[in-house]
């Protein structure tokens, strides 16, 4: 995919829909690569992030192929180590963390708050370049043979024993951290200073609240991973002994510093998805979100609590049992705001006028899968159970339920919901529903067996396993293939829709929210006149529901 592929707006002229918008405001590669428009930068990010998602998925596919049989017959063990490391590095740092904030957040934050752009448009463009620069460092390492430390870079493996490309990968992540910080900083300032007249904090859409909470985590956490990876690189080059027990260093200190960022990073992935789901549930249940303020503050609570739980990654790493107890209790507290959200979404659905459009299918899938991922999270936060399942496929299944079942479902749901806003086009309804179904089924088939495998004792990060685990592993690989098809379909029909899709009109879902008040695709400055906000974000009423019904009839 290249940048020119995303600007085929000539069709608007053919359909007589020639209103000026951000896509047809200027043409040519330069107008994209030098743009300051948050919407175009979102598209640039969409392209880069999709490329990295494809790469990460390829690694996942190879991992699942190796695990199809108990013997290590497809790859050498060293190669397998590199595959799961690069799968983790690419997916975590180059797909999941930027996905919703940098694509949907960039596109929607100014639109949802009635602003012309983010507070710092140049910084926003810079963040995309920095992201790609970091990506190039990491790709360079991958092309030259990759890295085998696991995405966690644990010392002293990463600093002393690994003979793979640790430094260039670490530098890639270090650099990409800046792009993340630029985005987060930009969002915080924008939400504080650029809101339209009348748009008070409690009239903000919940997507804004969760993006804001995410940005707080990014700003407070990312610098710590930056300095940590810098120390790893310094240690690797100069052998300072900072994390080397032989020289008096303490590897557990590395783990503290690493997880101080990398645990909250999980909330960087899941919080924006929760924001998306809040929007989807309200829009497709046709109801005001139940307990708006609770959902809003739950985002902030998750962001804050998320910083107090990192020690639960080190229960068996030599951490003091007293500290571990504290971390265990604090970890369980995260379940409270998470449950508040799940209960409030469910309460919103209750007696709602629910329509099962594609985005809503993803939202419902998210609620179920996130609940399962979250509840197993409470399980592994328990000291005793964690000792049993630590470093097994139970953990792998748990965090994939959060990251894939949660974050990616939210991302896809959001893309399907706002695609008409982004492109002005409709995608095929039936096909997209089928793909949502494939994603849900494929996901569960891939990862549910892994819960069982882990509980039975199959350790993670090995290229072979005892034969009695084969049936469940075959199921998992079969699920991954279905999941892969489920992910490929949207890519195809989104690209297809840009050229051949029907015009969506400004508000195909009949949803409320400032982003739906402007045209689709929006003009460069977003609004022809600055909106003045007089009410909350989810004011659905009977009349509007009726309007939507008739609109749906015309949509087919």
């Amino acid at each position: 995919m290249n940048t020119t592929a995303t600007a085929p707006v000539t069709t608007t002229a053919e359909t007589g829909f020639a209103r000026p918008n951000y896509l047809n405001a200027a043409y040519g590669v330069r107008s994209w690569l030098l743009t300051r428009d948050h919407k175009r930068i979102a598209i640039l990010y969409l392209i880069s992030v999709t490329a990295f998602f494809a790469l990460g998925s390829l690694f996942a596919l190879l991992i699942r192929l190796e695990l199809l049989t108990p013997e290590g017959d497809l790859f050498q063990p060293d190669t397998y180590n590199r595959l799961f490391t690069m799968h983790g590095v690419v997916m975590v740092f180059f797909f999941l963390i930027p996905s919703i904030p940098a694509v949907l957040g960039n596109f929607l934050v100014p639109l949802m708050i009635g602003a012309k752009d983010l507070a710092f448009p140049k910084l926003n463009l810079a963040s995309w370049y920095v992201y790609n620069l970091g990506g190039i460092f990491t790709l360079w390492a991958i092309v030259h043979g990759g890295v085998d430390t696991g995405w966690t870079f644990y010392t002293p493996l990463s600093t002393h024993y690994s003979n793979t490309y640790v430094i260039s990968t670490a530098l890639g992540i270090f650099i990409t951290g800046f792009s993340s910080i630029f985005t987060g900083l930009n969002f915080i300032v924008t939400v504080h200073r650029m809101r339209a007249p009348g748009l008070t904090w409690f009239r903000l859409p919940l997507f804004i609240w969760s993006t804001y909470a995410t940005s707080l985590i990014i700003v407070l956490g990312t610098p710590v991973i930056a300095i940590t990876l810098l120390l790893v690189a310094a240690e690797r080059v100069l052998h300072l002994g900072l994390f080397d027990p032989a020289l008096g260093g303490d590897p557990v200190l590395f783990q503290h510093l690493f997880w101080f960022y990398s645990h909250p990073a999980v909330y960087i992935m899941i919080l924006p998805a929760m924001g998306v789901v809040s929007e989807l549930v309200a829009a497709f249940a046709r109801k005001k979100i139940f307990g708006y303020r609770f959902v809003a503050f739950a985002s902030i609570a998750i962001a804050v609590l998320g910083f107090l739980v990192w020690g639960h990654h080190m229960f068996v790493a030599g951490e003091s049992i007293y500290a571990a107890t504290i971390f265990s209790v604090l970890s369980m507290l995260v379940a409270i705001p998470s449950a508040v959200k799940v209960f409030n979404w469910t309460a919103t659905l209750y007696q709602g006028s629910i329509s099962y459009q594609t985005p809503m299918l993803y939202a419902l899938g998210f609620i179920g899968l996130f609940t399962l991922g979250g509840l197993t999270g409470v399980m592994v936060a328990t000291l005793g159970i964690d000792v049993h399942v630590h470093d097994t496929y139970f953990i792998v299944a748990h965090f994939h339920y959060i990251m894939v079942g949660g974050a990616i479902m939210g991302y896809l749901g959001g893309l399907h919901y706002w695609w008409p806003k982004i492109s002005g086009k409709l995608y095929p309804a039936a096909l997209s529903k089928l793909s949502a179904l494939l994603v849900f089924v494929g996901f569960n088939l891939t990862f549910f067996p892994q819960f069982i495998l882990g509980y039975l004792g199959m350790p993670r990060r090995y290229w072979s396993y005892p034969p009695e685990f084969q049936v469940l592993n075959v199921l998992s690989t079969a699920g991954a293939s279905i999941l892969g098809v489920g992910y490929l379909l949207p890519l195809c029909y989104f690209i297809w829709s840009m050229r051949y899709g029907k015009d969506s009109g400004d508000n195909p879902w009949g949803a409320v929210g400032l982003e739906w008040d402007t045209t689709s695709p929006p003009p460069t400055e977003n609004f022809y006149t600055t909106p003045v906000v007089t009410h909350g974000p989810y004011e659905y009423n009977r009349e509007e529901v009726h309007n939507r019904m008739s609109q749906e009839a015309t949509l087919g």
């Binding site: 930009n186 300032v189 300072l240 260093g249």
Partner: protein
Amino acid sequence: MASEPLMEPHGHAAHHRDLAHQFDSLDQQKESSTLGTWLFLVTEIMFFGGLFTAYVIYRRLYPQAFALASHTLNVPMGAINTAILIGSSLTMVLAIWAAQVSWRKGIVLFLGLTILLGSAFLGIKSVEYREKFETHHVPGPTFHFVPESEHVKVTDPQLERHASIFFSLYFIMTGLHALHMIIGIGILVVLAVLSWKGKYGPEYHNPLEMTGLYWHFVDIVWIFLFPLLYLLGAHAR
């Protein structure tokens, strides 16, 4: 928080030459860049924070080695550098004051002084670094640490390794601090040129303010580095 000033409708005020298109007023722009800069400083706090954490943990694990190693640092030079850096913070605020009272040459003068003091700090720092190389106190293959102390055996490999950790942290912390100063001086040079051209006055001097915040932050980092690195070893004789 609902009472915070919200942005005014589009096209309310005629556009100032320094007003970016996404903002509606210079006030909104200034508030945004101030908040943005502070958020950046928060990331800096956390960036150095990782190092301070490592310092706290290792000092707790190896108090004696840390005290003995700290004792070899040059306290007078550190103290003079602290004074120099505080002085540069003073000249930095005076540059902003000069902009507020429309004294163009004053801005350039005070920025120049800030650059001068910053460079003096780096000069003294490099003298200290050279001293460390000469005494083999730089971690690496040539590292050698024999403390002058009655309590400790003169050659203690364990102690030497732990002192090496102190010096590693010393070089990483002061090195990153110095890097921040070099970047700061670079920005100040650009600002001095722009001020000479009359870019900044009482109405608009955001870049001066934001660079000032950064410069003072670097000062604050040193305010903590000085006692933690130089002074804790005063009684480890």
